[in-house]
Symmetry: C2
Subunit: 362 residues, 2 copies
C-alpha cells in the first residue's frame, strides 16, 4: 500500500493507493464521526456500497444513491444530499463519503463544503480519472446549464482512498479517459513520466497492477506538489488546466455526457499543443510524440466532426479561466514545460478551433 | 467617519461607519474589478441603488433585484444570482455588492463564495441589524425548509460600509430588532456597554446620530474581536449565538418572516437568561436588568402565545448548534459573562420551553 501526504498545514491529509485498499477502509480513514453519509451512484452502489456500510457498522450510516452521469452534478442534487442530511438530523461533526467517480466526488465534496458551512468528507474514487485527478486537491463543484463547475468551493477531503482493484470493473473507454489526465501530468512538468508512459502505455491500458499503481502514484505526486504550492489556484495551479479550457468547451457544446471528461481533455491537450506549434513554442517532433501517445490510448485527437467553432469559442469564453475578457490557456514550450498564456495570436487560436470543421470538410 | 480593521491575515478588511458613508463608496471600497454586480431587494433598490450604480459609472455594473424577505434567502435565489453572473459573462475577477439587510447580505455573500469557487464581495448593510451583526464576520448562507442557514460558507467580504443615514428610512420595528443584537454584545462580554445601553436606550431608539454611531462601532468592535480569535466557529465564536438557538427555533416553528430575526433573538436571550437563573448561574437582579432593557426596547420577552414547546425543541435540535445529539446553548453567568453549555438539566430546559404556553394559560 502506498501512502502520499498532501501537505496543506492544518488541512493536510493522506492518499492511500493500492489494490484492496477498501478492505481496511475504517482503519485507513480514521473517521471519528458518529454519523456517516455515503453518497454514491446506481452503477457503483451494487458493487461497493455494502462493503463501506459494513466497515462502519458501529456508526450511524445513511446513504444517498444518485443516477450515474455528469448531467446529475447539479444544484438540485446538492439539495437532495443536504435534505437527506437534515432529515437524518446529521450535525456538524458528521462525515460524508464520496464513493464513485468525479461526479460523485465533486458533488459530495461541495455538499460537505456547504452543509452547516462545512463538514468533513472522504474521497473513495472508483474510476481511473478520479483516482489520478479529481479526488485530490479539494476542488468541488456542481455544473450550471451555462457552464461546468461554475458553482463550487475549495474544500479539502480528510482522506483519499484509491483502491486500484475497483478499476477492474471499468470498461476500456473509461480507462482511456483516465489515461488522458495521466498523460497531462507528464506534459505539464514531468518529462520522465511522459517517457515512461511512451514505454508502458499498453501495459497500463490492460491494467497491469504494477503499472497502474505507479501511474496513479506518480500522477498524485505531481498534482499534490502543485496543489501544495497554490491551493486556491491563484498561480501555478492553473497549469493543471492543460487541455481543460478547450475540453470544457467541447463538453459544453456537445452537452455533458456525450464525450467523457477525459476524452474531451485528450482532445483539448491536442488543441493546446497545436496552438503551441503554430506559435513556434513547441517543436513538431514533440507535437508528434504527444499525438502518437494520445492516439495509442485510442483517444480522439480532433474536436467532434461538425462542431461549430463559434459555439466552441463562446463556451470557452464562459469557462472560469477568462480574465479581463481574455481566455487564458495553458500552452506547451515542450514536453514537461507547460505555462499559462493569454498572449496568443487570435488568428492562430481561430485556426485551432476550426480543426474539427476542416477534418469534416476533407 | 469611523474605520475599524478586521484582522484576519490575508483576509483582513475595513469596516467604514458613519452618516453619509455611501457618498464616498467608490473611494472607500477601493474596488478594482471591471465587472460589478449589485444584489439588492425591491424595498432598498428605489432608495439607494442608483447612488451605487452612479458611483461605479466607469465599470460594467449589473443588478439583481429580489423580493424583500427572509423567505427569499433560498438556494433558488442563489441560482438566480449565479445565472445572472453567467449570463452577463462575469469572470473570477468580478465583485458582488450586497446592498440591503441580512437576507441580501447572507445570500450575496454565499453567491460570491460559490461563484467560480469564490469571488470578492462588499457588504453595504442598510438595516441596523445587518450593520451591527450579519455584515461583519464572513458568515454567509441560505435557508433550507428544514432549518435556517443550513447551506452556507465562511467567506469574508473585502469591505463593509455602514452608512447610518440609511437607517432613517427604517420603521421602529426594524430598529428595535437591531437593538436586540446590540444588547447581545453587552451581555456576552461587555458589561460597560450594557450599562451605556441602560442609560442611552431611548436616545438610540430615536436614532440620535452620536448614539447610533457609538452603538454600531462598539457592536462591531465586540464582534470583530471574537471573529479574529475564531473565524470558523470552532470555539469562542459560538458565544455570538447567545439567544440564537432559541431564536432560530422560534423563527423555524412560526415560519420565517413572521417575527423579525432580531425579535426572535430578543426572546431567545430572555429564554437563555431564564435557564441561567434556574440553574443558579445568573442572579435574579441581573435577570431583571436584562428583561427591563429588552422590555424598554419594546421587544417580546416570551415566545409567541400558543407555540408548541415540543415543536420548538425539535426545531432547536435541528439547528447547527447540536453536537453529538445534544443542543448546545449559550448561557449567562452574569451580564458580560456568556459561556457555551451543553450540561444543563433537561427539566429546567423543558420548563423554559413551556414559558410561552404558561403565559397563554394565565
Amino acid at each position: 500500500m502506498i501512502k502520499i501526504e498532501v501537505d496543506l498545514g492544518d488541512r493536510s491529509y493522506p492518499i492511500h493507493i493500492g489494490s484492496g485498499a477498501l478492505a481496511n477502509i475504517s482503519t485507513n480513514t480514521k473517521v471519528e464521526s458518529r454519523q456517516i453519509m455515503v453518497v454514491t451512484n446506481e452503477t457503483v452502489a451494487p458493487i461497493y456500497l455494502e462493503r463501506i456500510t459494513n466497515a462502519f457498522a458501529d456508526r450511524i450510516v445513511k446513504t444517498v444513491i444518485l443516477p450515474d452521469g455528469e448531467e446529475f452534478k447539479t444544484l438540485d442534487n446538492l439539495n437532495v444530499i443536504i435534505s437527506a442530511l437534515l432529515e437524518y438530523e446529521f450535525d456538524r461533526s458528521c462525515t460524508l463519503i464520496a464513493l464513485g467517480g468525479g461526479v460523485v466526488g465533486d458533488l459530495t465534496g461541495f455538499s460537505a463544503a456547504c452543509y452547516q458551512r462545512g463538514v468533513d468528507y472522504i474521497q473513495i474514487p472508483t474510476t481511473l480519472l478520479s483516482q489520478v485527478d479529481s479526488s485530490v486537491g479539494g476542488k468541488t463543484a456542481v455544473n450550471h446549464r451555462l457552464g461546468k463547475n461554475m458553482i463550487g468551493a475549495f474544500h479539502q477531503p480528510t482522506c483519499v482512498v484509491a483502491d486500484t482493484a475497483t478499476l477492474s470493473t471499468l470498461d476500456q473507454r473509461q480507462i482511456r479517459a483516465g489515461v488522458a489526465e495521466i498523460i497531462k501530468y507528464g506534459l505539464i512538468s514531468d518529462p520522465e513520466f511522459f517517457e515512461w508512459l511512451e514505454t508502458e502505455l499498453e501495459n497500463l491500458l490492460r491494467l497491469d497492477a504494477e503499472c497502474l499503481a505507479y501511474a496513479i502514484r506518480r500522477s498524485c505526486e505531481n498534482k499534490v506538489a502543485i496543489v501544495a504550492r497554490d491551493e486556491r489556484e491563484s498561480g501555478v495551479r492553473a497549469l493543471l488546466n492543460l487541455g481543460h479550457t478547450f475540453g470544457h468547451g467541447i463538453e459544453n457544446v456537445l452537452g455533458y455526457g456525450e464525450w467523457l471528461h477525459g476524452e474531451a481533455i485528450a482532445c483539448g491537450i491536442c488543441m493546446a499543443a497545436d496552438l503551441s506549434v503554430r506559435m513556434n513554442l513547441l517543436s513538431t517532433a514533440e507535437y508528434e510524440r504527444i499525438l502518437s501517445l494520445i492516439s495509442r490510448a485510442k483517444l480522439t485527437l480532433l474536436p467532434p466532426v461538425g462542431l461549430n467553432p463559434k459555439e466552441l469559442a463562446t463556451a470557452m469564453y464562459k469557462d472560469k479561466k477568462t480574465r479581463g475578457g481574455r481566455i487564458r490557456l495553458v500552452l506547451l514550450r515542450g514536453i514537461g514545460d507547460a505555462f499559462v498564456c493569454d498572449d496568443y495570436p487570435d488568428s492562430e487560436f481561430q485556426a485551432v478551433l476550426n480543426c474539427g470543421r476542416a477534418s469534416n470538410q476533407q
